[in-house]
């Protein structure tokens, strides 16, 4: 870490430093300017280019099913889902209802794994940071979340590796299987397979209720407002001492409900397709998804329209084109200028109706009009609200999983033979662990001619667009107080509350999250 004194004539205390923040999936570099101890400017830069989209060009029509899960070790099932839905749409085939259930169950197991691991192994590990050494909850935070040692951390490792066994039973392995195919899934689950999945899910649910929530999912479901949340927290020791209770207490006492706001625009592509005939009901009256997609600007919510998605490259290391392009017109032509131009990231800048938008569990809660989060958001988004949405999303998922497992007909129909895919254009959208993910594909003459991927972290961690508007977490950083520039834990809280996954930002990144506070 280097520190240099500011110019003495300036009033603000300024210094320059590089502080890599690890524990993000991939390589990310954040540069912020500090003015009087607060972030006044922020730039998010992806520092790795893997070129996955271009690797796909000219390959076989189904090859996206094998290559794209390898984009990300932690959300390979989400990429597989998007890839197969894109091929479904090209072939015009609707997979059988039980194939949709199997796809959903695997994706949900991946979400259950990711939400809990990210919260406790990545986000809450910051609670053990030396910045909180004098805080009364610090010792307890260490006891719970110290990496590889904390009681919760160890428990999370042991439980999350169990829940992804569901993916292995249905799809052969996790991560990186390719069992979703256009027209359904490759496997035919037996009754024995489905019963094992039920047992694994029941075990995880019991653990999640006991350790994480400190109450039943049903009791948690009664929390429908900020006042309910306070009542829940004070109701009993089991609530206060659960990891959810501890998270809320620690976050409130340390001001995490007051930082990390952002643009207040939210996007969800829709969480989990509803199979025809299911008894699982949508949370927001959607006929297509468990939580229907949409775009929220403040309290104004409109249905998701894929035509409104574009990507800008004005500040990204790609050959320029004016304004934004729809992914069907998109291209990935790397153009590394270094720091001499306005370009500063390997991530492109996705926009919806030309606006930056935050995605992830909080966006899903907003767009699906979840009453608790609607109430909490009256004072704007924050680190606490964003992370809370992730931490309690499993409570939304597990009852639906149990229902879908009981609805599947063992040894039934899981695949509708698709005609050979030779020509066409299609896309697959899905809400992954970190939010809105889309694959846009064109196949011509039996091979892939275009493959454009927009990942959740591209939305959240995007650089500025052609109108120079900041990306969501760049914006969320503005105003964040940094008590100690040598240890800017607050910046880590804000960025990690978005659950960054930079390996996914396929045009780009991996590395540390380095923070450079530049001279003003």
């Amino acid at each position: 870490m280097t520190a240099t004194l500011n110019h003495p004539a300036k009033r603000s205390v300024t210094r320059t430093l590089d502080i890599p923040l690890n524990r993000v999936e991939g390589d990310l570099s954040i540069r912020v300017e500090l003015d009087s101890g607060r972030v006044s400017e922020a730039w998010s830069s992806g520092t790795m280019y893997r070129g996955i989209e271009n690797i796909l060009l000219g390959r076989g029509p189904l090859d996206g099913l094998v290559i794209t899960p390898r984009i990300c070790g932690i959300c390979s099932t989400a990429h597989l889902t998007a890839a197969s839905k894109a091929l479904d749409s090209i072939s015009g085939i609707q997979p059988p209802p039980d194939a949709i259930r199997v796809r959903n169950l695997a994706l949900m197991a991946e979400l259950l794994q990711s939400d809990v691991r990210q919260t406790f192994l990545t986000f809450a590990a910051d609670f053990t940071n030396g910045a909180y050494q004098r805080h009364p909850l610090h010792e307890e935070a260490l006891r719970r979340y110290a990496p590889m040692k904390g009681e919760t951390a160890i428990d999370v490792i042991r439980q999350t590796r169990k829940i992804v066994e569901i993916v292995a039973i249905l799809g052969g392995q996790w991560p990186h299987s390719s069992y979703m195919v256009p027209g359904g899934v490759a496997g035919v689950p037996s009754l024995a397979d489905l019963l094992q999945c039920q047992h694994l899910l029941a075990g995880y649910r019991a653990w999640y209720e006991r350790r994480i929530l400190g109450c039943s999912i049903d009791r948690w479901g009664e929390v429908r407002s900020g006042a309910d949340l306070d009542n829940w927290l004070h109701e009993c020791a089991a609530h206060r001492d659960s990891d959810l209770g501890f998270f809320i207490r620690f976050a409130r006492q340390n001001g995490l409900d007051r930082i990390g706001g952002g643009h207040g625009n939210f996007i969800s592509f829709g969480l989990l397709d509803l199979p025809p005939g299911t008894e699982v009901r949508s949370r927001n009256g959607s006929t297509t998804h468990l939580m229907g997609g949409g775009f929220a600007r403040g309290a104004h919510i409109t249905p998701f329209d894929p035509a409104n998605v574009t990507e800008h490259v004005a500040h990204s290391w790609y050959v320029d084109y004016p304004a934004g392009r729809h992914p069907f017109e998109g291209e990935t032509r790397p153009y590394a200028t270094g720091e001499e131009s306005q370009k500063y990231s390997w991530a492109k800048a996705p926009r919806y109706a030309d606006l930056p938008a935050e995605t992830g569990p909080l966006a899903e809660m907003v767009v699906s009009r979840n009453p608790l989060f609607a109430d909490l958001l009256t004072s704007g988004p924050s680190v606490l609200t964003r992370q809370l949405a992730r931490l309690v999303r499993p409570a939304e998922l597990m009852p639906a999983m149990q229902q879908w497992l009981s609805e599947i007909c063992p040894d039934g129909t899981f695949y509708d033979p698709a005609s050979a895919i030779t020509e066409g254009e299609g896309f697959g959208t899905v809400d992954a662990a970190r939010g809105a993910l889309g694959h846009w594909v064109r196949i011509e003459g039996g091979s892939i001619q275009r493959y454009q991927i927009i990942t959740p972290t591209a939305w959240n961690g995007s650089p500025r667009d052609s109108g120079h508007v900041r990306g969501p977490w760049e914006e969320a950083l503005i105003g964040t107080p940094v008590a100690d520039p040598e240890n800017p834990v607050e910046v880590g809280h804000v960025v990690r509350s978005f659950d960054p996954c930079l390996v996914c930002t396929v045009h780009a990144l991996r590395g540390r999250c380095s923070l450079a506070c530049r001279d003003l």
Partner: protein, 312 residues
């Protein structure tokens, strides 16, 4: 004294780390305790500050901090134009850090196919290669002559991802001073001396050449669906994934992800044929004999297989 481990992630997806987090008996927490391993640094786990990390690197590179194991995950990105700047850390190519650390380590372990052979990106503009191999050819990033302080070359643990048992047991053997014989691709023969095909529940369908031409069936996937089970060395159907299953068991062809040429240059889910017989035959098998044997086997196939009544 604790053995020390530094884990660096280069051009990859983090999947090998995710695989390791799924380890059981021992799980990763038990492994560290049992073997008395101190993780000096792992980008997904450590919560050292940046200055602590920089100080650590300085001490390792100056020889003041012992480094027993360097694990490299992800492909070595050398592009554009050999600069390595497609994968930079603090403005410097990460490949340079790999080279510096490798020169100090007692063992260098390439975890996953990308680090072993180049993997995803070896065909792309990023000019990627493995730590000591580029596909089938020895050399790669560190060069054919490289040996770690122990005298061993880079130990390759391919697989996309690498199975957690393989990572855990390799570390155990290396740190315990046990010898692990290597193949010519520097992969431990204990796990890469058997074919993915071995242990597949569809073996009987293979034996009698009862073939599938589409998804959702019980037959063998080798003849039409592009399965590399008889062509790829790896323990998938012996150790099983997540203690449960494997791709081939649920009707997904093996993509040969442990092979130095993964991802293959030709389309997945499709077997290239010469008159109905796969172009690539099981390792070491003579074509004429195979034709005769498979013809007879197909004729001998029992109805329970032809009717797909035998479960897999």
């Amino acid at each position: 004294m604790a053995a020390t481990l530094y884990w660096i992630q280069c051009g990859g997806c983090g999947g090998d780390t995710i695989s390791l987090l799924g380890a059981d008996s021992p799980d990763i927490v038990e492994l560290l305790t049992l073997l008395d391993i101190e993780i000096l640094w792992h980008p997904s786990i450590s919560n050292n500050t940046h200055s602590q990390h920089q100080d650590l690197l300085e001490r390792i590179l100056a020889g003041r901090q012992n480094l027993d194991v360097l694990c490299v995950e992800g492909t070595i990105i050398r592009g554009p134009g050999g600069t390595g700047m497609y994968d930079a850390i603090a403005g410097r190519p990460k490949k340079d850090l790999v080279a510096s650390l490798a020169s100090q380590a007692r063992f260098v372990v390439a975890v996953g196919t990308c680090a072993s052979f180049g993997g995803i990106g070896a065909d792309g503009a990023v000019e990627a290669c493995g730590v000591q191999f580029l596909k089938w050819e020895k050399g790669g990033f560190l060069g054919a002559e490289f040996t770690a302080r122990s005298g061993l070359p880079v130990v390759n643990l391919p697989g996309c991802p690498c199975h957690s048992d393989v990572i855990v047991s390799t570390l155990t053997a290396l740190l315990g001073g046990q010898s692990i014989p290597l193949s010519k691709y520097n992969t431990p023969l204990i796990w890469y001396g058997l074919l993915v095909h071995q242990g597949c529940t569809r073996n009987e369908y293979h034996e009698y050449r009862v073939e599938d031409q589409g998804f959702g069936e019980k037959g063998c996937l080798f003849f039409h669906m592009g399965c590399h089970g008889p062509l790829a060395y790896g323990p998938c159907n012996k150790v099983l994934w997540n203690r449960r299953s494997s791709k081939t068991r649920v009707g997904v062809p093996c993509f040969g992800c442990t092979r130095p040429d993964f991802p293959q240059a030709y389309p997945f889910y499709y077997t290239r044929n010469i008159e109905g017989i796969p172009k690539q035959l099981p390792d070491g098998v003579d074509r004429a004999h195979y034709l005769a044997y498979k013809g007879m086997a197909a004729a001998a196939a029992p109805d329970r297989l032809k009717d797909r009544r035998t479960r897999v």
